[in-house]
Structure formats: structure tokens, C-alpha cells
């Protein structure tokens, strides 16, 4: 009995020593709960508020101002300014600058005071149904209670039901609120992030682990030749994965594809390169395939949680949004959803293309600085 305890003790001690030596694993054990707690506890919010809202006002009066003030104070809508044409409104929704456009038509105030129940149009970007639904659900109530204050004196009679305005809601891009429309294109980004980073970092680290790297370095190949030669095959892999996901999205899940395929191709290409650059950088740091896996996971976890894939991006506090902006996945999700669901054009997508370009330049620079053509 005692000797069994002694042997268990010996193994226990050995495990503790090894655990302490493997700093990356040790770091993960400490950091993963901290990151998860921070993200889920503080950053993630499934009831997003302060959504950017633009006004298209063809009529302006005390009544309209009461209405907009009511929207603002509800904390769901954050009035960012005005647009001056229906085309401009569409453009802002496509680019993602606005989540809502509230249109008050000409003659609204007069019709309202006559008790004609005039219409207000609210166009909502419903490409992410969960981000828009709460605000949309609240809007009638907010409008009615805001307008009530103006219905005093001679107009007090309008306070009765039916409500004094007719609110028309257009759920743009995804009128039925089908969550697959949002998730399936997003999955493309998640799948590419996971596999591209993991495959490159592991493929490179495997060569170091098996000693092939020493052999390769003893041959006259330049660092950039090795890097290009190793990355290009995986670009092909990424493109095949993209084709599979897109075919499934369109045929299996009936996700609409209304935009320019070439714009999406550009986005996919850049996104794949960005992830491969990350994978290559990891492979210059990791000493074993196991470490490469751990680093992939470290990058993948916050990418997925902070990019707007799982939870509405706009629901997160500013600091989390700022971190989220770093990840290429955040921008890629906007591109793939923008192109497929909204038919966004080059101009609308440029604000999401350049951050990926910058990411590629930085990641490739780090990779090249870290990559050694010697064994030092």
C-alpha cells in the first residue's frame, strides 16, 4: 500500500516538474480561463445597444425631433447623423456604416396631427438577425411613447389606440431573419482561419522537429524562396475549402449571393494569405508541432469570439471592438456577408480590405524577421 503511494507520488512529482517546464502549456492553463472570462463576462453581449442609426428626414418638426430624441434615449439607437437621399441610405447600410436608417416622409407632421396615422420607414440591416432583432422589437414602443408627450391639449384624443403612427420595418438583406444567411458565409472565415494557420504552422514545425530543416538550410535556398514554396500549396487548399463552403452555402442552405464574385475572390485571397502569414510566423516561434497547435488555438479563440462571428460585433464594448478590429476574420466576415447578402461594391468594402492588407504586411514582416537561414 505504502509503496503504491510512493510510486504515485513519484509520477505526480514528475508530472508537476514537466508541467512547469512547458511554459506554453502552463501559460495556456492560466490564460485560457482569463481570456474566456474576460470575453464572455465583459465583451460579449447578445443584446447589442448603441447601434449606429442615420436619419433621412423629408419633414422636420417638433414631433419628428421628439421621435428621434426618443430613439436616442432608448439606448438601442445611436443617431449618427443624416442622409439626404434614398441611395445614400442604401449605401450606408451596405457598407455597414449604419445599422438602421429611419425615414420620415414629407408631410408626416401634418398627417400625424390630423390623426391620419402616417408611416415611418425603418430600414434595418438584418444580415445579422440577432444583432438587429432586439432593437427592431423595441422600436414601435419607443416611437409611441416618445410621441405621446407631444399629444397634449387639442391632440390628446390621438393617444388612444390604434397608435398614431404606422411604423414600417424593412429587414434588409435577410427579411425572414434566417440565421444561416449570416452563419454560413461566416463559417467560411472561421474554417479558413482554423485550417490555414494550423496547417502551415504544423507543416513548418514538423520539418524542424524531424531535422529536415537543418538539411534544407544546408542547401542553397533563400528564405523567401522557402516561404513562398511552402505557402503556395496551402493557398490552393484554402481555395478548395472556399469552393466547398460556397457551393454548400448556395445549394444546400440557399444563402443568396447577390454581389460581385470577383470582389469576394479578392477578399478570400487576401484573407487566406493573411492567415498563412500568421501560420508561418507561428512556425518560426514554435519549437514543436504541439506548440504550433497551441498557438493556433490562442489566435483562433479570440478571433472567433471578437470578430462578430458568434456574437454581434456592435454589442461589444469599445475596447473589445478595438481588439476585434485587429483580426483579419473581423474584416473578412464583413466582406463575405457584405458581398453575398448585401451586394456591396468595391467602395463599400474598401474599409475592410485595407486592414487585412496591413495585417498581411505586418505578419509577413514579423515572419521574415524571425525566419533564420541559419540554425542560430
Amino acid at each position: 500500500m505504502f509503496s503504491a503511494l510512493r510510486r504515485i507520488g513519484a509520477i505526480l512529482l514528475k508530472e508537476f516538474i514537466q508541467m512547469r517546464r512547458d511554459r506554453l502549456t502552463f501559460g495556456m492553463m492560466i490564460l485560457v480561463p482569463v481570456i474566456q472570462l474576460t470575453l464572455f463576462g465583459f465583451a460579449i453581449n447578445s443584446d447589442p445597444r448603441h447601434l449606429p442609426t442615420l436619419l433621412y428626414l423629408e419633414d422636420d418638426s417638433t414631433v419628428v425631433r421628439s421621435l428621434t430624441a426618443g430613439l436616442q434615449t432608448s439606448s438601442y439607437f445611436d443617431i449618427k447623423g443624416r442622409v439626404f437621399s434614398a441611395a445614400e441610405a442604401t449605401e450606408k447600410l451596405q457598407s455597414g456604416d449604419a445599422a438602421f436608417v429611419v425615414t420620415v416622409p414629407a408631410g408626416f407632421t401634418r398627417a400625424f396631427l390630423r390623426g391620419d396615422r402616417p408611416q415611418i420607414l425603418i430600414e434595418a440591416d438584418a444580415s445579422d438577425p440577432s444583432a438587429a432583432s432586439n432593437a427592431v422589437g423595441m422600436i414601435s414602443q419607443i416611437a409611441q411613447s416618445a410621441l405621446k408627450q407631444d399629444l397634449k391639449g387639442p391632440w390628446a384624443g390621438l393617444q388612444q389606440t390604434p397608435p398614431p403612427v404606422d411604423i414600417v420595418i424593412h429587414r434588409m438583406y435577410n427579411p425572414e431573419g434566417i440565421s444561416q444567411y449570416n452563419i454560413v458565409p461566416g463559417l467560411l472565415g472561421v474554417i479558413l482561419t482554423m485550417t490555414m494557420i494550423m496547417i502551415t504552422s504544423i507543416a513548418m514545425t514538423r520539418e524542424t522537429e524531424r531535422g529536415n530543416m537543418e538539411n534544407l538550410l544546408a542547401m542553397p535556398a533563400r528564405p523567401w524562396e522557402v516561404m513562398v514554396g511552402k505557402i503556395v500549396p496551402y493557398v490552393g487548399v484554402g481555395l478548395i475549402q472556399t469552393a466547398i463552403v460556397l457551393v454548400a452555402a448556395v445549394w444546400l442552405f440557399q444563402v443568396p449571393f447577390v454581389g460581385d464574385p470577383w470582389l469576394l475572390a479578392l477578399g478570400v485571397g487576401l484573407f487566406i494569405i493573411a492567415n498563412l502569414a500568421v501560420g508561418f510566423t507561428f512556425s518560426t516561434i514554435a519549437r514543436s508541432q504541439m506548440q504550433a497547435m497551441q498557438m493556433t488555438f490562442f489566435f483562433f479563440l479570440p478571433s472567433m469570439l471578437l470578430s462578430g462571428f458568434m456574437f454581434p460585433f456592435r454589442g461589444m464594448p469599445d475596447w473589445a471592438q478595438m481588439i476585434g478590429q485587429i483580426f483579419p476574420l473581423t474584416h473578412f466576415l464583413r466582406i463575405v456577408r457584405g458581398v453575398m447578402l448585401k451586394g456591396a461594391d468595391w467602395q463599400a468594402m474598401w474599409p475592410n480590405i485595407w486592414p487585412i492588407l496591413i495585417f498581411i504586411v505586418v505578419a509577413a514582416a514579423v515572419a521574415m524577421l524571425r525566419y533564420r537561414s541559419t540554425l542560430d
Partner: protein
């Protein structure tokens, strides 16, 4: 000083540090072309590090010099083109076939008439029928032959072999050395590190490194002569008891077994003789003096270098 075209390696003050540890400490080597030189020394003595610095895999922290006439710091690309380097551990791709490995190497060096060269190499190796076998499934001896073929595929001017025969059976070891001498007779310069004394004796010259420092270099005979060492050998039934009695006594600088013979060496002949007269008597033990062998000299050198860290 020999002319650059006769010199394969000419380095001065070669030094490499890893953190606080000095792996190679101011090593000078001048090696003529066309010879076979052996690199000897205990484990961790800096043999591999020195070879890696010479062929451009590691950057020397101090020192300068040339390898095949190219600057070892600035022209490592040219050196890599003209040197065939065989790593200590098999480092070709185990998940590629024998043929694919050779074709990859041929492609990377831009060898003309690639297919013919690979075909001929496979034939020389006797691996034509197994060319589609994965390299990882080869036995140790075959892996080593494949590695030698692969690192000579681009017709290098110099070979650097890092413990090529470690873990290889005696017959394969002999075949390997016959191959090295064949290559050398074709004009190739060969630098080979080893732990085996019989291999060291097949080298034109040897360089002995211990704990980063170059201890001695020269022909085997010269090294033995220059050591100034005297060796007495005891054989017989009672020899096992003698080791403890002789070790650490004045005159006996080294006491070591070779097979079942006890070698006692020292540089002071009279002290050694009187020690053996006093302490060396045991039943059935016969003493004789012999010329020290290379290993006696190396054990002596290792002791002189102060042991490992």
C-alpha cells in the same frame, strides 16, 4: 601559408557562444584540399557546431576565414552550393520515397539532366528496385547510404559528414569508409566527425576538440609520438583488482580498460615503472610496455582539458 586554391578550410579564431556557454572557443583549422580529415572529441565538445559554422548553418560570433575560398560569414550561399553536408541524424524526408528525395535535391541544386543523374545514383546505390519505397522505412545503414548519395548528388567539392556512422553496424561502417576513400580519390575533400578510433586511423589527419578548444591536430602517428605518453598494459585473471589500486596514484595519469586489458599511462616513465613495481603485482597478471594507441592519447587529452562542464 598555403595558397587559397590548395586550401579547403582556412579559419582563425572561430568562436560560437550559446548564451553564457562557449561551444567553440577560438579554433584555428587549416585543411588542404583532397584529404580526408577526422574530427574527434567527446560528446558536446563542439564538433557539430564547428561543422555547422564551416558550412554556413551557424554564424560564428568571432573569427573569420574561408571554406573552399569563400568567406564563411558573407558567402555562405556559395559555400552551401559547393559543400555536401550530411547531418548527424537522418534528415531527408521520411514521408517521401527514395526517388522523390533524390529528385527534390536534384531540383533544388538545379542539376542538369536530372532524371539521368537520379537513375544513375539509384543504380549505384542498388536501390533501383526499391526507389518507390518511403525513405522512412529504410534501415539505419540504408538511410545512411541514401543520405550520402543525396548529399553528393550535386557533385560538391567538399563533404562534411557529422558522425555518419553512429548506430551503423560494423560491415556497413566499413563499406561507408570504402566509399569515402573512393570519393576522396576522385579529388573530394572530406571532413568527417566520429567517435570511432578505427575510423580516425583511416583519416589523413585528425583534429581533436574537447570542450570547445582544439587540443591537437596532425597525423595519427605524430599525435601519438608528440603526446609524450608511456603506456603499460596488464592482462590476466587478477587484472580487475588492479584498477582501484592504481587509479589516482602518482605516476598513473590514466587507468582504463580496453576489452579485458588494463592500460596505465603517464608522461613520467620512471614514476610509472616504480608504481607498477610497487602496486601492480597480482596473481596471474602479466605486464608489458606498448606504444600508446590513439585512445590512450585521447583519454589523456580529455583529462588535460579539465573535464566537461
Amino acid at each position: 601559408m598555403p595558397q587559397a586554391q590548395d586550401t579547403a578550410i582556412d579559419v582563425r579564431g572561430l568562436t560560437k557562444r550559446f548564451g553564457d556557454r562557449v561551444a567553440v572557443d577560438h579554433v584555428d583549422i587549416t585543411m588542404p584540399r583532397g584529404q580526408v580529415w577526422g574530427f574527434l572529441g567527446p560528446n558536446g565538445s563542439g564538433k557539430t557546431t564547428t561543422i555547422r559554422m564551416l558550412c554556413g548553418l551557424l554564424r560564428a560570433d568571432e573569427g573569420s576565414g574561408t571554406c573552399l575560398g569563400y568567406d564563411i560569414i558573407r558567402q555562405s550561399r556559395q559555400i552551401k552550393r559547393d559543400v555536401g553536408y550530411m547531418t548527424q541524424k537522418f534528415s531527408y524526408w521520411e514521408d517521401l520515397t527514395i526517388r522523390e528525395n533524390l529528385e527534390f535535391v536534384a531540383n533544388l541544386y538545379g542539376i542538369p539532366k536530372r532524371k539521368t543523374v537520379v537513375d544513375r545514383t539509384l543504380e549505384d546505390l542498388g536501390l533501383t528496385s526499391r526507389q518507390k519505397q518511403l525513405a522512412g522505412t529504410l534501415s539505419g545503414g540504408w538511410k545512411q547510404r541514401l543520405a550520402l548519395a543525396a548529399c553528393t548528388l550535386h557533385s560538391p567539392k567538399m563533404l562534411m559528414l557529422d558522425e555518419p556512422t553512429a548506430g551503423v553496424d560494423p560491415q556497413a561502417r566499413r563499406d561507408f569508409w570504402d566509399q569515402i576513400h573512393r570519393l576522396s580519390s576522385q579529388g573530394l575533400t572530406v571532413l568527417v566527425s566520429t567517435h570511432y578510433m578505427d575510423e580516425a586511423e583511416r583519416c589523413d589527419q585528425i583534429v581533436y576538440i574537447a570542450y570547445g578548444k582544439l587540443m591537437t591536430q596532425g597525423r595519427v602517428d605524430d599525435i601519438i609520438t608528440q603526446s609524450g605518453l608511456y603506456t603499460f598494459i596488464a592482462e590476466g585473471a587478477g587484472v580487475r583488482d588492479l584498477m582501484e589500486r592504481l587509479r589516482g596514484k602518482p605516476g598513473a595519469e590514466h587507468v582504463a580498460y580496453f576489452g579485458n586489458a588494463l592500460h596505465v599511462s603517464g608522461s613520467d616513465l620512471s614514476a610509472l615503472q616504480s608504481l607498477i613495481a610497487a602496486e601492480g603485482r597480482a596473481p596471474g597478471v602479466a605486464w608489458r610496455q606498448e606504444r600508446p594507441n590513439l585512445e590512450d592519447v585521447f583519454i589523456h587529452l580529455m583529462g588535460k582539458s579539465g573535464g566537461g562542464q
